[in-house]
Symmetry: C2
Subunit: 208 residues, 2 copies
């Protein structure tokens, strides 16, 4: 037998299966898709949940307007087609994070049921857990909060097609979780999310 | 002082800083950008490296044709504009993974220096470590391997604009690492990558 030369490397498929990956890292991946009106508390609750998860050493990562609109989706506007593509891309990236063993948290109004159905399907086809979380606060409360002054601008006609003002919000019919942020404190909402993850066996334990 | 009602929640910015995130998870993020001809060994080396990292419990995730072309970038073709957008999106997603505390590995030919400069800049602007890894094997060797039969098709004129045949490959001028996969075994290349990460203080240790 001749000495194996480096040029005779046998190229093998080195892919790590998802189970092996998750087991080795001591994690499980999933996507929590927060949907709701502007000002409903999606960002606040998902940021607090992200913090709670990471501080218990569970990898979690939040996709939101800040890191998506100015990066991956900076070449998208607000036409109907661009809005669909915006949500589709976010769904695809969330899927990759979930596959990697991370809890992906997405915080976007995502007002249309059809778009949310697409991202759910993306996860189902990849056999990854997907949870639609309806951040359900009455319009009046959201508008009262108006954290970015968007409702004011929309009411003044300075912004067109703003969800809840002159564009519809299609509430989830069968979400995995409903957070009544008008009635519940942030911590209580975070607790609801953690309970959901716990009940699904997605938290803690593992190899760590 | 009146009792605080849940409707009076003080909405706070709950964002986790990157340092706190990485420290809590015991990880550091970075992107290793593998570039080279089809058949040069990008996928093989990056897959083996991913496995080596995950098995030592360092979160790592590979972006490649399999999980990008049929997902996030399935609406892109092979026009000049689409090729640029393909690489840009991959760079943006790698940045998110690196930010999350994961070692992102990308395995795409990415033949144009300008496109690679864009993804490097995306990382620099986010102050995230970025390493361009030139998977450098002679065309003759790559074509001899021809794992997907693409060179054969390109030579037969069945595919147009194939890198190395009728489209240029612009080799990196100052890559952070060069892997001579024509001369070195996969394990040796993986070792080179691990040494690079180690030297940069990006491996192991941490809180785990």
């Amino acid at each position: 037998m001749t000495e194996q030369k480096a040029t005779n490397i046998v190229w093998h498929e080195g892919d790590l299966g998802r189970d092996e990956r998750w087991k080795s890292l001591g994690v499980k991946g999933a996507t929590l898709w927060f949907t709701g009106l502007s000002g409903s508390g999606k960002s606040t609750v998902s940021a607090a949940l992200e913090q709670a998860l990471v501080l218990r050493r569970q990898p979690a990562y939040r996709l939101d307007g800040d890191n998506i609109r100015h990066g991956l989706n900076k070449n998208l506007g607000f036409t109907a087609a661009d809005r669909v593509e915006n949500i589709r891309r976010i769904g695809e990236v969330a899927k990759l994070f979930a596959d990697s063993g991370c809890i992906a948290l997405t915080a976007f109004i995502s007002p249309y049921a059809a778009d949310r159905a697409i991202v759910r399907k993306i996860h189902e086809e990849a056999t990854l857990p997907f949870f639609e979380i309806f951040v359900d606060a009455p319009l009046a409360i959201c508008e009262g909060r108006d954290p970015k002054g968007m409702y004011k601008k929309a009411r003044a006609g300075l912004i067109k097609g703003f969800t809840g003002v002159d564009d519809p919000y299609e509430a989830p019919v069968t979400p995995e979780l409903v957070l009544k942020t008008g009635d519940s404190a942030v911590k209580a909402c975070v607790a609801q999310c953690l309970n959901l993850l716990e009940a699904q066996g997605l938290l803690g334990g593992g190899a760590r």
